[in-house]
Symmetry: C3
Subunit: 161 residues, 3 copies
Amino acid sequence: MIKRDFIANRGNLKGFIFVFFFRVSHFFQDHGALGKIVGLPFRVFYKIVFRWILCIDIPDSTKIGEGLMVFHGMGLVVHGNCKIGNNVVIRHNTTIGQKKANGAVPVIGNGVDIGAHSIILGDIEIGDNCVIGAGTFVDKNIPANCLVYGSPFVIKKLSNN
Amino acid sequence: MIKRDFIANRGNLKGFIFVFFFRVSHFFQDHGALGKIVGLPFRVFYKIVFRWILCIDIPDSTKIGEGLMVFHGMGLVVHGNCKIGNNVVIRHNTTIGQKKANGAVPVIGNGVDIGAHSIILGDIEIGDNCVIGAGTFVDKNIPANCLVYGSPFVIKKLSNN
Amino acid sequence: MIKRDFIANRGNLKGFIFVFFFRVSHFFQDHGALGKIVGLPFRVFYKIVFRWILCIDIPDSTKIGEGLMVFHGMGLVVHGNCKIGNNVVIRHNTTIGQKKANGAVPVIGNGVDIGAHSIILGDIEIGDNCVIGAGTFVDKNIPANCLVYGSPFVIKKLSNN
């Protein structure tokens, strides 16, 4: 998985470093009470350095498929209950989370490309290979292979997929 | 006041740490020339660590009531002349400030819940218990107990309050 | 040039520090293979401290005229191929870059004032002395001396210029 992440983030060193630390922290988080305890120093380091200082606030409980690309990691908040597919691109100043306190969070499909300054909220599903334009507010289900953009957003079928 | 802040930010350690340092820095700022001088090292530390590095750019001159919640503190800019009520929630990538250079700044009531990626600008007042949806641009007065969302924004009366 | 930057950023120490380091890093970047090699430690320092940690992600290859003002430098991404004129104001949580992968990037004229949370994308030109309102998404050419704001954006001629 790390290898796939490395290939995905070629030329994007900050992105790869983040994804690497996320994977290790997630490994500990995902291995029961023992993993959580043994990995505590690492997980605290991840939280403070990446989530607090570098402002890439993705909890290590988030389920993210291989080949995650994080471009210009900053101003980024993802809820820890989110499920994100393989080969997803996330950019800066983006939020993926709850619409209301204690509400459900988005499920992001494979190959989704999320533009900068996007806001994706609520109990929704973004289908495989969708492209979400920069600055789009999305709070409804999006079928696979669609382009979503504008405010309020419009949905267009992508023909190339 | 610190106690109220602590209760408000349970489970939100970064938020509490920020609010704590803000309160201390504001204490020095608010106690005349002597306070400003004695507190200078602390205020410089606050400015560099919180406003510059952690990107929670709230000057210590800002008047903020008790129980301030700062979720995912990052990308946050509040003008130093703002007045913010009690029990206000502020999220990431939000700006509260001037619409024009040297212009007036918003007054935020008690219990206001401000969504992420919001922009609140100008000589306006946000009434008590308002909820401002994520990504909303607000530049007009909002009466108390209203929900504001969308672009351009719409206002709905909240019935539960 | 540094003197002009200093005057432009009076009272904005963080902004001036950033612009100073950008200028030095750009100087090395702009002086052939020798400059790039001699300046490597400095350029790496600039990249890690300013682009990664402080979240002012402006590559030192960007061509920027004198008197650059960066207010509340954070959450800021500018593409390295951008050309930016003299006396331009850039604020926080703003992106100036490509609309599509490997696409062209904006050219920003002289005296342009860019509001916070703006998104300026694609093969476009922003004319001299334009004002771009906070939170505006711009992906079309804007003639000189115009105010652009709203979503979708409207263009108004500025009479004072």
